[in-house]
């Protein structure tokens, strides 16, 4: 039985929404980073599904780029988190309130 494209898109939308909620409601910088990765991978799922269903490879090429960009982003993000942990001994985003209005 063929699974139709709608199901893939729906799953991807749900995963993406979970990622968005994670970014909005979690206060730990590392968990926010993980939620962002979840968002990117949800998009990858729909890109691959669409690419497969319309028979066009460029969507899958984009997925390769998304994967490598996500890795680079994770490396830079973790480096920034380490740097701020050394300064503040905290990764709770509520503690980062140096600038106001």
């Amino acid at each position: 039985m063929e699974i139709s494209l709608d199901w893939y898109l729906a799953l991807s939308a749900v995963l993406f929404a979970i990622g968005v909620l994670g970014v909005l409601f979690r206060r730990n910088a590392i968990v926010i980073l993980m939620s962002v990765e979840l968002m990117l991978n949800a998009v990858n799922l729909s890109l691959v599904a669409v690419s497969q269903s319309i028979g066009d490879l460029s969507g899958q090429i984009l997925v390769f780029f998304v994967m490598s960009v996500a890795a680079a982003e994770a490396a830079v993000g973790l480096a920034i988190v380490i740097a701020i942990f050394r300064k503040k001994v905290s990764v709770d985003v509520n503690d980062f309130t140096l600038f106001r209005y």
Binding site: I61, F64, M67, S68, A70, A71, A72, A74, A75, L78, A79, I82
Partner: protein, 134 residues
């Protein structure tokens, strides 16, 4: 139908057999000079017993971060490898080889930078101080 999978089974058996053979061969022929560090469960230098909430050396994170990047960049080699035969058939082997070598050279420059800046030095205190000073 099932006969289609025979090559797969064969390669699985060969892979498992090779791994077991090599392990046994190493046990029989290898020199044995055990010491405490070598006999530990993890040879990475971490003590497996004790609290897990210790602070790790920052070097672990550094290596892990560098690993992520180099690891994932290799993803671009898979589409290249899959389509390589088609390029040879089209008489474009030179171009596609040149491009992939360029890619590897760029990755190599990243590695050169990492080594020269001391990103992979675990015990050189001079480099560590330099990194912390920044």
């Amino acid at each position: 139908m099932l006969s289609d999978f025979i090559p797969l089974f064969l390669s699985m058996v060969m892979a498992g057999g090779l791994a077991l053979t090599l392990l046994k061969a190493a046990e029989i022929f290898g020199p044995k000079r055990p010491n405490v560090t070598k006999r530990a469960a993890y040879e990475s230098g971490m003590d497996p017993i004790g609290t897990a909430r210790d602070r790790y050396s920052i070097k672990f994170y550094l290596v892990a971060m560098i690993f992520i990047v180099f690891d994932v960049e290799v993803v671009f080699l898979y589409p290249w490898a899959v389509s390589f035969r088609d390029f040879i058939a089209a008489g474009e082997a030179g171009g596609v080889l040149a491009v992939v070598f360029l890619f590897i050279i760029i990755l190599g420059i990243g590695l050169l930078y990492d080594i020269k800046k001391g990103g992979l030095d675990f015990d050189d205190l001079r480099h560590q101080r330099e990194f912390q000073g920044r």
